[in-house]
């Protein structure tokens, strides 16, 4: 319809009024339906509304503007809040990951209170060890979240042999359990715990030949 619009406005334009409506009823597209509605509304409001020769351009521009706004709105909604605050990641994640509790307190957390043990331990051959290597994790206890009555230790041979057993790869300079010496020379029964003779905090000191 707009293509047929003459360039010179003095020339008779497209039909007005009922004639125009008559021509429009022949159209059936959705846009025309909307346009007709707008036309009727304009007539009811007391003015007529001639279609602009560039309305197809305006429509496109409006469509692009709405699409652009929608794109940025959706992007804003989808992208997490602290994204790209420190890099191409959710900066809040680094903060959230620090919320995890310490399960192991470390020797520093033990030495503050348990001085009676630390003295014996620090001078001994196991002073490089972590208390929690043998006593189990006590981070919650050290941070005041949990009261603990005792710190049990696995006194089986296997617990000691985990470090002191002889296996390929274990450095020969490292003190390793000499099985034949204990069994044949010292006649230590198989079921005796290492801790019966070796004080675990200072294993170089032997508590006596208790067998």
């Amino acid at each position: 319809m707009y293509r047929s619009l003459p360039r010179d406005l003095d020339l008779p334009g497209p039909p007005d009024g009922p004639e125009r409506l008559a021509t429009m009823t022949e159209q059936s597209s959705f846009f025309d339906f909307c346009k007709r509605g707008a036309e009727k509304g304009a007539q009811a409001a007391g003015f007529t509304c001639d279609p602009s020769p560039r309305s197809h351009v305006y429509r496109l521009v409006l469509l692009l503007a709405v699409a652009g706004w929608a794109f940025f709105w959706v992007k804003d909604w989808m992208v997490p809040e602290s994204w790209d605050a420190a890099g191409w990641y959710r900066a809040a994640a680094a903060e959230e990951l620090t919320d995890q509790h310490d399960t192991f307190g470390g020797n520093v957390s033990c030495s503050g209170c348990h001085r009676e043990w630390m003295g014996e331990f620090n001078g001994g051959g196991h002073s490089a060890l972590s208390c929690e290597s043998c006593h189990g994790p006590f981070g919650a206890h050290a941070n005041g979240l949990q009261r603990t009555a005792e710190a049990p230790v696995d006194s089986s041979r296997q617990a000691c042999l985990r470090c002191h057993g002889t296996t390929p790869g274990r450095n020969t300079g490292f003190p390793r359990f000499n099985e034949s010496f204990h069994r044949d020379s010292l006649r230590v029964p198989e079921d005796r715990s290492c801790m019966d003779c070796h004080a675990p905090h200072d294993p170089t000191y032997q508590t006596g030949w208790g067998f």
Partner: protein, 257 residues
């Protein structure tokens, strides 16, 4: 008359369209576009360089007790059957290299086959963990930006953002990642980021009885790790991958892969 009417209509049309255009422009300007432009225009603030953490594994000191693996799994609630750090036992014989790591050595190592034991020329333990690479392949391949470099050099996984696609697990040359069967997202060693953020040490470093594992700021020249990093004869695992890992090995035999 015709011309006046047209002129009036033109004015009205102009005003209506100007108002509509202004409204659209306002809606666009109000929202993220402004932020986007502001971000481009504003210069990011430069901060003083913080600590650059590194991890040193001393092969000669490791006795293969597996306490590190056990501590790591307890500290980080690692699901049964998975490990974030593990220890491999290498036994070099004339016939070949025997490598084993029963359940990641979470319970240490048992005895070896007598034949391998007899033929052994050299044997050693190699603790392994995430290398926290400076040029991390896992960060490159992550399609959603869920794995990232936190300040200090930690390579971390954002469990809220990870979609569990598993690309990073395939990309890691060190096999340090796995898919957590409980959370269904990528999981790996964090160098105990939560502990270090409070001034502590990673759990594996804490419990290691022989100080085979060292952790700290490599820029701190007063610390052991700073001196080793600067002057030590350390090497990387798979240096040909050019991942620039911040996990360095002392005394790494050439058989290690």
């Amino acid at each position: 008359m015709q011309k006046d009417r047209l002129a009036n209509q033109g004015r009205r049309r102009f005003l209506v369209r100007a108002a509509a255009g202004g409204a659209v422009a306002g809606l666009v300007w109000n929202t993220p576009l402004a932020k986007l432009l502001a971000a481009v225009v504003t210069e990011s603030e430069q901060e003083a360089p913080g600590p650059a953490y590194g991890f040193i594994v001393n092969i000669d000191r490791c006795i293969g007790c597996g306490k590190c693996v056990e501590a790591c799994s307890i500290e980080n609630n690692v699901p049964e059957g998975y490990v974030r750090t593990w220890v491999e036992r290498y036994v070099v014989t004339d016939k070949g290299v025997h490598v084993d790591s029963p359940r990641g050595a979470i319970d240490g190592f048992e005895g070896l086959d007598d034949e391998i034991k007899r033929d052994a020329r050299q044997a050693f333990f190699v603790p392994k963990l995430c290398n926290h690479c400076l040029e991390a392949p896992c960060i490159q391949v992550c399609p959603v930006g869920a794995t990232f470099h936190a300040p200090g050099g930690f390579v971390l996984v954002d469990p809220e953002h990870c979609i569990g696609c598993g690309y990073c697990i395939q990309a890691c040359p060190y096999g340090a990642r796995f898919k957590n069967p409980e959370t269904h997202v990528a999981d790996k060693c964090t160098w105990c980021y939560h502990r270090v953020s409070r001034g502590g040490l990673p759990a594996c470093v804490e419990v290691c009885p022989t100080q085979a594992r060292l952790f700290g700021d490599v820029r701190d020249q007063t610390s052991d790790i700073g001196k080793i990093y600067t002057y030590g004869n350390w090497s990387h695992l798979k240096p040909e991958m050019h991942t620039e890992g911040m996990c360095m090995y002392l005394g790494l035999p050439r058989e290690v892969v």
